[in-house]
């Protein structure tokens, strides 16, 4: 057990990040359990504690009497320095056990720019970074989360990878581990990997060899273990009603990013926006019932004392019984003074009545995501909303008293021209004008927030070459020059970060070396602007003789073997290619939830179905 010297804690920022003991955290003496599992989040406490996935796995694993699951976070740089100086290894927040003493260490891959933190945490935890260097008695290092759908840049670091939803598979892993352990770890680490690779949804990167063409593209990927599957399909929970939901989440002492109850209404979104990876990864749509949600909410409020519930899903306003749910939640929790909030609203599912019922929108203004500035480009990305939808929704908001709106856009989308950039400025200006028309005065605040498009694996745009850094920056500045009205605030992201994301989002195994080099040169917390050092990355690419443009900016041929094809969300390549063609043609693909099945392949391959309660009374 690690003892943290108060002298150290009194020197670092936000020391309560490191001291544990939170309500509902589970502390089990390790000698009383068969398996110990560290759930490691590659960012600071406040970010990691807001991640729903770990709340779910923590609850499932700790429900087992034979297993202890504990949390591990990346220490902030000041604490890391103290720990390295005092030779304190990275530790868990429950029993203050060093990371290297766990049986399994899981990381979640939420965004590309957290990858160096994973290496840093392994290093701080005294675990060899490369799978090939790990010995008997050292933990197995596991990955899960959306990043596994192209885990190739991290292939050298993970012993195995969990593809898809973890509720069921995590228990199968623990059972398999227990068996291997009880059999005296016969056959060593390899034997366990072989056993675990037989579980559906497990990918063992070291069981596959990649060969390359002279032009740098992939020639072939073949398994070097006869039992390894040719393609690993994701696992899903077919019916969310059949699994437990964490009803006693940990209540942190110190404030975290999402400091409220998270109530997951459903998984999946089949609106079919062509840039959206989550829309593909989490298919099909599966809703929980109102009864279940109200019951869970009640239990969570009682167990935490939180006074806010956030209805979280990819597009919560699409929940088929939303008005009923909000009414019932409000009635159930009125005496507890709990408010209900909706984190995001779609323009076409927005209703003022709904917005007024939930408190969050009142506090922070309304956020809409037209994504693109012209109808032509919105058709390309299959956004399915029109300017009229936006004007109607914003107009209704202004009439009901709102005075500020936030509009999200992307630049760098396929087929984009300067006309589309101009469309963003025009749309923002039209919203400003709309306010004066409706309210007869000035005083509106329109925030235009623009991110740079990053093409992702397993989307219709996975073949598309991302705009170059210069082009993205030119577009950012062009838009800046078009926005003159003082009521419009314009924000945009660092395009250098977007390009790096673009490299790793569609990278292959050869990038592992770049990650290592960059980390050794000091890269960490790359998603925190104050710690992002682009020069480190540029140097790492040069040192490894790797051209980042090959990964980010190159248009791929439809026939090319893609590095991420061997891990699949069960949506077919054929469907994605069809969507790419439809995109270029500006053709609309409807939502299979309300319209015909588009045969993306997920229901067919996983023997699953959409679960939607809109027809039930």
């Amino acid at each position: 057990m690690i003892h943290l010297d108060p002298a150290i804690l009194s020197r670092v920022m936000k020391p309560a990040r490191y001291t544990g003991h939170e309500l509902n955290s589970v502390m089990k003496p390790h000698e009383t359990v068969a398996v110990t599992f560290a759930l490691a989040f590659p960012d600071v406490y406040e970010v990691g504690m807001s991640y729903l996935g770990y709340k779910i796995l923590y609850s499932i694993l700790n429900k087992r009497t034979d297993t202890a699951a504990e949390r591990v976070f990346a220490p902030w740089v000041d604490m890391e320095q103290e720990m390295r100086q005092a030779k304190i290894p990275l530790f868990s927040h429950e029993t203050f056990t060093p990371l290297a003493e766990f049986d399994l260490v899981g990381f979640t891959l939420q965004y590309e720019m957290s990858y160096t933190n994973i290496l840093n945490m392994l290093d701080l935890g005294g675990i060899p970074l490369l799978t090939k260097d790990r010995k008997q008695g050292q933990p197995f290092v596991v990955a899960g989360g959306p990043g596994v759908y192209n885990v190739e840049p991290l292939a050298d670091f993970f012993d195995f990878v969990i593809v898809g939803e973890g509720e069921e598979i995590i228990e199968e892993i623990v059972d398999t581990y227990k068996c291997w352990r009880e059999a005296g770890e016969q056959g060593g680490r390899k034997e366990f990997l072989l056993a675990v690779s037989k579980i559906s949804g497990i990918y063992v990167p070291s069981f596959y060899d990649v060969t390359y063409e002279t032009n740098g593209t992939i020639h072939s990927v073949s398994s070097n273990e006869p039992t390894a599957p040719a393609i690993v399909h994701k696992r899903i929970v077919k019916d969310l009603e059949s699994i437990s939901y964490p009803v006693k989440p940990i209540v942190p002492y110190t404030e975290i990013v999402h400091d409220r109850i998270m109530l997951e209404l459903f998984r999946g979104c089949t609106r079919g926006c062509r840039f959206c990876q989550a829309g593909i990864l989490y298919r099909p749509v599966r809703e929980r019932t109102v009864d279940t949600l109200v019951k869970i909410a009640r239990q969570q409020v009682d167990a935490t004392g939180y006074n806010e519930i956030s209805l979280t899903s990819l597009s919560s306003a699409d929940y088929s019984k939303l008005p009923e749910l909000i009414d019932r939640l409000t009635a159930e929790l009125k005496d507890d003074r709990v408010s209900v909030s909706l984190p995001s609203l779609r323009i076409d599912s927005f209703s003022i009545e709904l917005a007024q019922k939930v408190q969050q929108v009142r506090k922070s203004g309304l956020t809409f995501a037209p994504e693109a500035g012209t109808q032509r480009l919105r058709d390309v990305i299959n956004k399915g909303v029109t300017e009229e939808n936006l004007i109607e929704a914003v107009g209704a908001a202004f009439r009901s008293g709102w005075t500020s709106v936030k509009l999200y856009f992307m630049i760098g989308l396929p087929t984009e021209t300067d006309e589309d950039i101009e469309g963003i400025a025009d749309l923002a200006q039209r919203v400003v004008k709309l306010f004066s028309e409706i309210r007869g005065r000035r005083g509106v605040k329109v925030t235009v927030s623009v991110s740079s498009f990053v093409p992702k694996a397993h989307t219709a745009f996975q073949w598309f070459g991302q705009d170059s850094l210069e082009e993205l920056e030119r577009k950012q500045h062009y838009l800046r020059s078009l926005i003159k009205d003082k009521s419009i605030a314009y924000h945009y992201h660092d395009a250098r970060v977007s390009v790096l994301e673009g490299v790793f989002a569609r990278g292959d195994r050869r990038l592992g070396e770049v990650l290592l080099k960059a980390w050794r040169a000091g890269a960490k917390f790359d998603s925190w602007s104050e710690h992002f050092h682009y020069e480190i990355w540029q140097q790492a690419f040069i040192d490894c003789k790797i051209d980042p443009a090959f990964y980010a900016h190159r248009d791929r041929d439809l026939m090319e073997v893609l590095p991420w094809e061997y891990v699949s969300p069960a949506v077919t390549k054929k469907y994605l290619a069809k969507e790419y063609r439809e995109a270029v043609a500006g053709a609309f693909t409807s939502d299979c939830r309300t319209d015909v099945c588009g045969v993306c392949g997920v229901c067919q391959q996983l023997n699953a179905a959409v679960i939607d309660w809109s027809d039930s009374l």
Partner: protein, 231 residues
């Protein structure tokens, strides 16, 4: 009804901030299903208040809190429910129902006592420590230069010292007891005083290694010390 409680902030939660502590108690009150009173208005907040904020890193065996409930309930019931709801690091020591008009804790509490403990370094004797303290006692003014995010501020620590610091040495454990005024204009942190003793009066200690506990909060009136529960 208004309840006054004496509660703790213990070792496990030493490093949470006053705001964290407040939020933690608010959630506990909600879990306890007490009929807490809320303010009126657009953003209602639970009606509870403290005597004086406690610094990050400092434990306390004597925090005081007033909580207002919308309905009358038996004190024993309230306390039983609260005790079950408090997380690790917060214990109820004492409580009473307040009758009549009650002045806010913040307005009446004007003195805090602290205990600072640390380990004696090699080659240091009790006399060395006492010598520094005597030096400090003899001073009329003792200026501590405080670095704040807003700049440098000079504080005369002497203005806040209610009684000379008392030293106890037991084996290699050193304990220093302080009595500091809390004034309407502000107060000094025990760490500020320790820093001053070390840097200006050569107290042989290492400020960050000292564990600090607030041992009492009082209403000092004409030489008499009363706790908020004795009022």
């Amino acid at each position: 009804m208004k309840i006054r409680m004496k509660i703790t902030k213990e070792e496990e939660i030493r490093f949470i901030s006053h705001l964290d502590y407040t939020r933690t108690i608010e959630r506990a009150v909600r879990r306890a299903k007490l009929s807490a009173a809320y303010s009126e208005g657009f953003n209602p907040h639970m009606k509870f208040s403290f005597a004086s904020a406690l610094a990050v890193g400092v434990t306390s065996s004597a925090e005081y809190m007033d909580l207002e409930l919308a309905t009358d309930t038996e004190l024993a019931t309230i306390m039983r429910q609260l005790r079950q709801a408090f997380p690790v690091g917060i214990t109820v020591k004492d409580s009473q129902v307040m009758i009549g008009t009650v002045k806010a804790l913040m307005a009446v509490v004007n003195l805090a006592t602290y205990e600072m403990t640390w380990l004696m370094s090699d080659g240091i004797s009790e006399a060395d420590l006492q010598q520094s303290l005597d030096l400090f006692d003899q001073e009329a003014i003792a200026i501590y230069v405080k670095q704040t995010p807003k700049g440098v501020r000079e504080i005369d620590i002497k203005e806040f010292v209610a009684a000379p610091p008392v030293l106890h040495v037991e084996g290699d454990k050193i304990c220093l007891q302080l009595q500091l005024h809390i004034k309407p204009t502000g107060s000094v942190k025990p760490t500020d005083m320790l820093e001053l003793l070390i840097h200006k009066y050569q107290l042989p200690a290492f400020a960050r290694a000292a564990l600090i506990e607030r041992t009492g909060l009082f209403i000092s009136n004409k030489g008499r010390l009363l706790t908020p529960l004795e009022l």
